[in-house]
Symmetry: T
Subunit: 146 residues, 12 copies
C-alpha cells in the first residue's frame, strides 16, 4: 500500500484540549484515527508525525520522504519562518500539500505569509480537520496522472 | 435541491484554449460539466457564472447569494485588488471558498496577496480543476453542521 | 433648476438590507427619496446613480457632469483603487464632494487611503446618511460664491 | 442650553491674517462670531478655545468635556502626531468631529494621516469655514438619537 | 490586409474636449482617423476600441486578438492596477505595445508603475498622439522578422 | 532622605475616572498616596508630577533631576514621539525607569515603539499600578551598588 | 505550595561565564538559587528550565503549565522570531511575564521587536537578575486578585 | 536698528551644563551675550528666546515675527516632529535659518529628518556655537538684496 | 543641417559582441551607420557618442547640447542611479528622448526605475535598435511645432 | 594538535544525494573526509558536526568552542533567521568563518541576508566544497598572528 | 599660507549659464574669484577644482588633502549616491564642510539624503554663493582650536 | 601562462597609508607584489589594475576580459551602486570573484548590499589581504574542471 506522510508542527498536539473556540474540541488523536481510516479506504497507509521541534520535523521528512508518495504538512507557527523546513521539503522533492486549520488570512499579519508555500503543490487554509481529508483525497484522486 | 454558486473571474473563460502549459487543456465548459455532474451526485444544484467584468460579478453575487448555500469563488486577477468583490462577499454574508488553479504563492509577487481571503471561509490554491471539486465536497460534507 | 449629481459605488444598493449593525436599516431608496426632497427644498434637481461597475460610473460622470453644478460621490470600495474614477472626476472638472457613510479611518488599513480625495473639493467621512445632506447643504450654501 | 466645544489648534489664530490665498481672509474671530450665532439659533451654547499648546488643548478637553454634548476639533498640525490629544478625546469619551479647513489629502504627504481620526465620529476636510457649520448642524440634527 | 488592434482605456474618449493644456485639443476621433489612414498606407487594417470598462476591454482583446498581428494599448488609469488586463494580454499572447500620451514618469507617483508593462513588447511614453504612429510603424517595419 | 522623581504624562490624571475597563478604578491620587507610603518605608522621598504639557514635563525633569537619585517615568502618549523628553532624560543623566500601566505591545501599532526607551535603564510594561512599586523597589534594592 | 515556572532560552546557560561586561558575572545557577530562595520565602515553588532548543522549551511549557500559576519567560534570542513559543504560551493560557536582562531597546534593531510580548501579561527589560525577582514579586503580590 | 529673532528649543538651556563632550562647556547665556555683541556690531538687535514648550515657541514666533527681519531657529528635538512649528514659520513668512549645533547627519537615524527644513531659507548643521554667527552674518550680508 | 545628439552609456559598445540572445548580433557601429543614414534622409546631422564614463557623458552633453535640436539618450546602467546625468540633461534644457533596447520593465527590479525619465520628453523601451529610429522620426516629424 | 570546528546546518546531510544540479554529487561524508585529510596536513584536528536542529548546533558550539581555535560554520537555512546561533557564536567568542556552498546573492531574496554574518570574521559564498578548504587555509595561514 | 580645497561636482560649471531662476546668474568663475580674494584676505590659499567625473574628484581629494587644512565640498548630484567620494573624504581624514547652493530639503525627495554628510564636520544648505564664504569663515575663525 | 585580472576600486590605492586600524599597514603595492609572486608560483600571470573611476574600471574589464581566465574584483564603494560595473562583468561573461578586505556585514547598513554579487561566482568578505590569495587559489585549484 503506498504511503503518505502527515506532519503537524508545534502546538498542534494541543488540539481539542485548548482554545476550542478557535480549533474545535476534536483532539489530534481523533483526527489521526479518522484520517487513517479514510486513508485506508482510499488504499493508502499514513505515517503520522507531530513535533514541537523544527529539527525533529526535518529529520522525519528526510527519513520518510523517499518511501512516500506525498506529504500533508501543517507546519503550525513554523509556517512563517522555518526556511529550514522549506529547504527540507524542496530537497527531498516530495509532492507536498500545506494545510492550515484556520484561515490564516483572517488572523494576525505575521500569519499571512507562508515561507513553505513556494515549494508546495498547493495550500489549503481554513477548513479545519476537513482540510486534511481534502488533501488526502487530492493525493488519492490525482495520484496516477502526476 | 440546495444551490451553490461558482464564480470565475477574468480570463478564466480562456482555460484550455491558451497557456496549456500553465493551466492544462481542459476548457471551462469541460470543467463546468464535470462540476455540475459531481454536484448533482452530491445533491446540489450549481449556478455557474464567468465574467471579465468586476461589476457583473458583483451583480451576480448580490442577486444569487440570498438563495444559495455557498459560493466557490475564483476571482482571477481581481483576487489581488478588487475590494469591491470583497465587500460584495461580505455584504451578502455567504459562506465562500476562494479557489485558485495554480499555487499563487509560487508566482509573481503581486499574486501572493488576496484581498478577498479575509472574508472567506477558506482558500484552496494550486490544485487545478480538482480544487473546485474539493470545495464542492467541503460544502457537501460540512453543510449540515455549519 | 440647477442639477447636482449623486453617485454611489459598489454594494451601496444593499444599504439597509445587509449589515444593519454597520450601516443602519435605511435603504438606498429611502436615502434617495429623502435627499431628493431636501434638494428640491434647496432649489436643486438631483440626478442619482448607483452601479457596481466602475465603467458605468465613469460613463455616468462623463455624460452628466457638463450639465451639473456638482457631484456628491461615494465610490464605495472603488475609493481605494479606482484611479480611473479619479481621472474621470478630474477630466470633467466638476466640483466634487467625497462622502463615506462610516468613518473610514476606524476601519481596515486599506480603507484609510482614498485615491479619489486629491481631486475633490472635500471629504466627509463617518456621518452616515446625514453626510449626503451635509454635502447638499454645502453646494446650496456656497453655490454662489464659488 | 446644551454646550458644544470648538477647539482650534496651533496657528489657526492667524486665520485671515496670513496666507489668505490658502485660507481666505476671514479671521478666527469672525468665524467664532458666526458660529456662535448659528449655534444659538440651533439651541446650543458654544465654548470656543484656541491654543498653540498641545498641553493646553488637552487641559481644555479634560475640563470641559464632561459638561458638553460634543466637540468640534481642528487640531491643526497636531492632527498628524499628537497621540496625546487623541488619548484625551478617547479618555473623555466625547462625540467628536474632526474638521480641516483645507482638503488635507491635496497637500503634503505628512498631512494625509490623522492620528486623531480613529477616535472621532467623523471627519470633514476641505470645506473652509463652512465645515464648522456642517459639524454644528450634525450635532443639532442628530443630537437626539445618539 | 493584416489587422492591428488599438485599445484606449478610460477617459481617453474625452481627448481634445477636456484638459487641453495637458493633452492638446485633438479629439480621439481625429486621432483615429489619422491613424487609420496611416495604417492603410502601411498596409494594415486597424480595429479601434475605447471603453471606460475594464471588462469590456478584456472582452475586446479576447475576441479580436486571435485574428490580429499586434495590439497598441493605452490602458489609461488601468495601467496602474488592472492585473486583469495584464492577464488578458498575456493569455492571448499577442505582441503588444503600451502607449501613453504624456510621460508618466513626470506625473504623480502612482502613475510611475505600469502593471501591464511586463507582458508587453515595449513601452512608449510621452509622445502624445505621435506615439501611436510610432507603434504602428514599429509593427509595419518589424512585422516580417518577428 | 534621598529623593526619587515620579513623572506621569498626558491624560494619566484621568486614571480611575475614565475607561476603568482598561485602567482600573484607582485614581492617580490613590496611586500617589500608596507610592509615597511605600517609598517612605523604603527610605525615599518621592517628588511626584503630572502634566499634559510636554514642556512642563521637561521643565520639571531639568529642575528636579540634579537632586534626585532616579526617575520613574510614564510618559503616556508622549512615549511614542517626544524626542524632546528623551533628550531631557539623556541630558540630565538621571537613572530612569520607563513604566506603562498596560502592556503597550498588545495595543495599537503606534504604541509599540517607545522613543524614550533607549535612554532608560529599563522598561516595565503591563503591570498596572504595581509597576510603579516594582520600579521603586528596584531603586531601593539596587541603589547602593549602582 | 503553588508553582511558578521560570524558562530561560538559548545561551542563557552561559551567564556569568561569558561577556561579563554585558551580563555581569553571576552564573545562571546563582540566579536560580537566589530565585528559589526568594520564591520559597514568598510561598511559591519554582520549576526552572533552560534550553537552547525551541522545541524543548515548548514541550516544557505544554507539560508544566497546567499545574502552574504563572510563567517567567526569558526567551533569549527566540524573543525575536519564535512564533512557536508565542503560540505555546497562548495555547496553555498561563499568565506570563517576559523578562530580559538587558534593555533590549538599547541594542541591535532586531532585538527591539518581541513576537512573544503580545501574549504576555507584561514585559520587564533592562533590570538584570533583579528583573526575575520583580516578576516573582508581581505573582506573589497580585496572585489573589487575578 | 532692525531686529533678528533667535529661538532655541528644548534642552538647549542646558548647554554648557551637561554633556560637555558633545556640546562644549559654553553656556547658553555665554552664547547669547556673544551673539548680541556680534549682532550689535553688524547693526542688528537680537530678540532671543528659549523654551522647552512647543506652544511657547509658536507664540513667540507669531508675536515677534511681524517686526523682525529674520529668524535663527534651533528647534532642538522639535526639529524632527513639530509640524506645528513648521506651520508657524510658514504662516508668518519670515526668512528663517535652521541651525544645529552638532551635525545631525552623524547621529541617530531619527535626527536625520528635519520637518522644519522645507520652510526655511537654509540649514546649518555641525558648526557648534559658530553656526549662529554664520547665520547672523548671512542676514547682515545679504539683508539688502533679498 | 540641424544636429541631433545620440548618447549611449556603459557597455553599449559591446552590442552585437556579447549576449546576442538578449541584444541581437548587430554591433553599435552597424547601428550608428544605419542611424546616420536615416538621419541624413530626414535632414539631420547626428553627433554620436558612447562612453563607459559618467563624467565623459556629462561633458559631452554640456558641450554639444547648445548646438543641437535634441538628444537621444540610452544611459545604460546609469539610467538607474546617475542623478548627475539627469541634472546635466535638465541644466542644458535640451529636448531628450530616453531609449532602452530591451523592455526594462521585464528585467531585474532595479532596472524598473529610471532617474533620468522625469527630465525627458518621453521614453522608449523594448524596441531594440528600432527604438533609435523611432526617436529620430519623432524629432523629424515634430521638430517644427515644438 | 589544535582543533577547528566544522558545523553544518539543516539539510546539508543530504549533500550529493539530492539536487545534484545545484550542489554537485559529492556527499557530506566525502567532504568531511577530504577536509579532515587537508586539516591533518595543515596540522589541525577537525571536530565535525551536522544537525537539523538549531538547539543541537548551539549545544555543540557552546561545548566545543572553548577548546577550539576556530569555527567553520555553514548554518544552511538558519543563516537567515537564527539569532540564537548568532548569539551562541558571539557568546563563546570563537573566531568564525561563515561558509555557503552556493552564492547566496544569486538566489531567493530571503537568502541575501545573513543574521550570522555580523558576528563572524568573514564570509565565503559560492565556492562549493572548495569554500571549506579556503576557510581551513585561512585558519592555518593566519593562525599565528591573530 | 595654509591651503584650503574647494571642490565642485557635476554641472556646477554651468552656474550662471543655465537655470538662473534657480541658481542666480553669477558664473562659477565669478564665484571662484570672489572666494579666492576672500580667502586671501583671511590668510588662506584656495585650491579650486570642478569636475563632472566622480573619479577625478576622488583623485583630486587624495592628491591635495595631505597638504590642506580643510575641504569645502559641493558634490552636486554625487551628494546622493557617491559612496566612493564619501570614502575618499573619510580616508584622507580632512576636515570637510559640505555646501549646497539651494536648500536641498525643499527639492525632490532624492535630494534630501546626503551620503557624504556623515563624514563631514558640518553641512550648509540653501545659502547660494554665500555658503562658500560661510564655510571659508568657519575654517578661518575656528582653525586654531581644532 | 594563463592570465587572471585583479581590479581594485576607489580609494584602495590608499591602503596602508590611511586608516591602518581598519585596513592594516600593508600598501597596495605590497599586496600586488605578494599576489604576483603567488600567482606566478601557481602558474598564472596577473594583470592588476586600480582606479578611482568607474568608467576606467569598465574600460579595463572590457579590454582585458577576453584574454583572461578569471577576475578578482574588489569594487570598493562601487560595490554598493555601480550597476554599470555589474553589467560589464555580466557582458564579458568572465568568471569573477568579489573580494572585500573587511567584513562588509559588520559595517554601515549601505555596505551590506552588493549590486555586483549576483553576477559573480562567489564572494569573499572579511579576510583582509589574504582574501585575494584565497581567490587566486580558487582559480588555480578549480581552473580545470570549470
Amino acid at each position: 500500500m503506498p504511503k503518505l506522510l502527515v506532519v503537524n508542527g508545534p502546538n498542534l498536539n494541543l488540539l481539542g484540549k485548548r482554545e476550542p473556540e478557535v480549533y474545535g474540541n476534536q483532539t489530534l488523536d481523533n483526527l489521526n484515527d479518522t484520517l487513517k481510516k479514510l486513508a485506508s479506504d482510499l488504499g493508502y497507509e499514513l505515517i503520522i508525525f507531530q513535533s514541537n521541534s523544527e529539527g525533529a520535523i526535518i529529520d522525519f521528512i528526510q527519513k520518510e520522504a523517499p518511501d512516500a508518495k506525498g506529504l500533508i504538512l501543517n507546519p503550525g507557527a513554523f509556517t512563517h519562518y522555518s526556511y529550514a523546513i522549506r529547504d527540507a521539503v524542496k530537497s527531498v522533492a516530495i509532492e507536498t500539500i500545506e494545510v492550515h486549520l484556520s484561515n490564516i488570512y483572517t488572523r494576525e499579519e505575521f500569519r499571512h505569509k507562508s515561507v513553505v508555500a513556494p515549494v508546495c503543490r498547493g495550500q489549503l487554509s481554513g477548513f479545519g480537520f476537513y482540510g486534511y481529508a481534502m488533501a488526502l483525497s487530492y493525493f488519492a484522486d490525482t495520484g496516477n496522472n502526476e
